[in-house]
Amino acid sequence: MHKLHPSVKSVWMIRAALFWGICLLIAMAWGIFQIIPWPGQVPTRVLLVLGTVITLGVLSAGVYPIVRYRFWRYELRAEDLRLIRGIWWRVDTIVPLRRIQHLDISQDVFERNLDLGSLVVHTAGTRSSSVTLPGLLHEEAARLRDELKQFIIEPAV
């Protein structure tokens, strides 16, 4: 089975860092309002909230992407696409290729900078209506899309 492109870890790290950075800013703003009435003293609750946000931020942006990357695997087989992922909730999905309704390639601003892309496979199923395969080189994502395209059966519905 294939691993994702290692650069995807950077994308996940940046996204998490951005999210927790905003959370930290909000927490700091709240902390300032808590400190104003008692200058020179920092209430314990402020330290507790800031500490929690910083710890969660470090874990989400520093540790989680590395562990998440380790558990991501995918394989395009003759008749199906298999994906294994998840740290806490480990999921092994088999999507038969003939069930594909349509395909997308998505790229956010961070992925674009690293020339990465995500392949989104849509099926008619409710829970697997869109299965995302992240961390592919854009060129590889396009190649996979073209390979999978031939399995789309018309009319879909």
Binding site: T93, R99, G125, R127, I153, V157
Partner: protein, 499 residues
């Protein structure tokens, strides 16, 4: 394609009367709830009426539709103009819905349902019945599979019908906590506005009995709680019966050569048609009392997600199994298994542990505010019994062509999923499940509900490792028989039931 504007039609002008009258009901409730009188009441009512008309009239003026063979084009919206083309290939169902107002004026609402949308994609409110029939015929004429001559409704004897006495019996089996809550809400509301002085009535009704038990002790009013709950339960049960009767009154099911036709409803008459290939799975639903009498309901999971029926289309509201099975087997050729395989008994431990942790967390939190909360821990044995019951009620079977999954303690569901309808197969496990050597196997189908779907929870990893390839192999075999089937329109196992 540019259509001449003159070809577009409007819905019937009398639609305004129906829509206005139904809006007026909400208006009256709103005005009454403001608690004003005299001139203010009239002003409020007038303002509501005018604003209602200002909303409804422009929508009527700007709403136009054009039906051609195999396509319907709808223009709608006042500020934001929307043009919607719905081709017949995408249409899963053309349903007619007639509420009391529409029936009095011989009009009907036409609902056009497509795959993947939560609600009807196109709704024409309201058109004459003859126009609705014309629309349905035109939309179907481009669909060869569904355009095959079906017997006319008059010529066909229903394959299943539900006369009023049986409908009442069916309603009696309906019990839901939602109805209980509704019943409870009604009782408290009537008590609050003084229509029913609840405490007084109950005191008069049961005072003697309570006094006998309590000996006129201070706990007297606490003992009133029991009759109040019973009153709520009774009202909830009666409400359930009434809603059931109103919804399924005159229920008729016809299995025509290419489609299933249903007709039901007291106040709102619904007429729906489901082509056989659109059926994704069958669900047998029952509660303990129904099972005691060998009675079940049959629902169909179809592509068009009907929110009014919670994603399921009722096919048989109530029937004994020997009566129900032949009809169900004409919809999909399956054999109900005699026995179901249990999941791993470790499931009891996992569920019990989950409940224990949840209860522990809840009690700890409440304990901080209210010290007697610690007594909540006495619920623990009950939760472990619940975990054991969940394990006992959960079962599955796979015969190479269909997967059967049974789940639920009170409302038990048996999913019957044909291999041709599998969309994806998934094996998953949480951290705790992995430590215990168990996992969950899920088969995804089109149109399934997000909350209720066929999944085998806490099966041993060894069994799952055998089951997943077997399911996939069955799917591949079924597909090999029908290489063009896409799972939505697969017709191999749902061939013309008349043949």
């Amino acid at each position: 394609m540019v259509e001449a504007d003159t070809n577009f039609r409007r819905v019937h002008p009398l639609s305004l009367v129906i829509i206005m009258s139904s809006t007026a009901v909400y208006g009256v409730v709103l005005v009454l709830s403001i608690d004003v009188d005299g001139l203010l009441f009239l002003i409020a009512a007038g303002l509501l009426g005018v604003s209602g008309l200002l909303q409804i009239l422009p929508r009527y003026i700007f709403f136009k539709y054009l039906v051609s063979e195999g396509e319907i084009v709808i223009h709608s919206g006042v500020l934001k103009r929307v043009r919607r083309n719905i081709t017949s290939e995408r249409i899963q169902n053309v349903a007619f819905e007639r509420n009391i107002g529409a029936r009095l004026l011989n009009l009907t609402a036409v609902k056009i349902e497509t795959a993947g949308s939560i609600k009807a994609e196109g709704v024409l409110q309201y058109v004459p019945v003859s126009e609705a029939e014309r629309i349905r015929t035109l939309l179907r004429s481009a669909k060869p599979a569904e355009g095959a001559p079906d017997a006319s409704p008059e010529a066909v004897t229903p394959d299943y019908s539900l006369p009023l006495p049986q409908l009442l019996v069916s309603g009696m089996y309906t019990f839901s906590l939602i109805y209980f809550a509704a019943g409870w809400a009604i009782v408290s509301q009537l008590d609050q506005i003084g229509l029913i002085p609840l405490e007084e009535v109950l005191t008069n009704l049961v005072a003697d009995q309570i006094q006998e038990f309590s000996g006129n002790t201070p706990g007297f009013s606490t003992l009133l709680v029991l009759p109040i709950i019973l009153a709520g339960l009774l009202l909830g049960w009666i409400t359930g019966i009434c809603i059931h009767v109103a919804r399924y009154y005159g229920f008729q099911l016809e299995l025509r050569p290419t489609k299933i036709h249903r007709r039901f409803g007291l106040f709102t008459l619904r007429e729906t048609t489901i082509p056989y290939p659109r059926v994704q799975s069958l669900v047998l639903k029952s509660n303990p009392v129904m099972r005691l009498h060998n009675r079940f309901r049959l629902a169909l999971q179809t592509l068009a997600f009907d929110t009014s029926e919670r994603g399921m289309q009722m096919a048989i509201p109530l029937a004994r199994l020997p009566r129900l099975l032949p009809v169900a087997q004409r919809i999909d050729d399956f054999t109900l298994p005699d026995t179901y395989r249990s999941v791993s008994p470790i499931s009891i431990r996992r569920m019990g542990l989950r409940y224990t942790l949840a209860l522990g967390a809840l009690v700890t939190l409440v304990q901080l505010l209210w010290s007697p909360a610690i007594w909540g821990l006495t619920l623990l044995p009950t939760l472990w019994v619940l975990a054991w019951m969940q394990y006992r009620c959960h079962g599955w079977a796979f015969n190479g062509s269909h997967l059967y999954v049974r789940r639920g303690i009170f409302w038990q569901r048996i999913w019957i999923v044909p291999a041709t309808k599998f969309q994806a197969i998934q094996k998953s496990a949480t951290f705790l499940q992995r430590r215990m050597g168990i996992c969950q196997v899920t088969v995804d189908t089109a149109g399934a509900s997000f909350l209720l779907y066929p999944r085998i929870v806490d099966v041993s990893v060894a069994t799952a490792d055998e089951l997943v390839p077997a399911l996939y192999e069955a799917f591949r075999r079924a597909m090999a028989l029908n290489p063009r089937a896409d799972g939505i329109d697969a017709v191999d196992d749902l061939a013309d039931p008349a043949t």
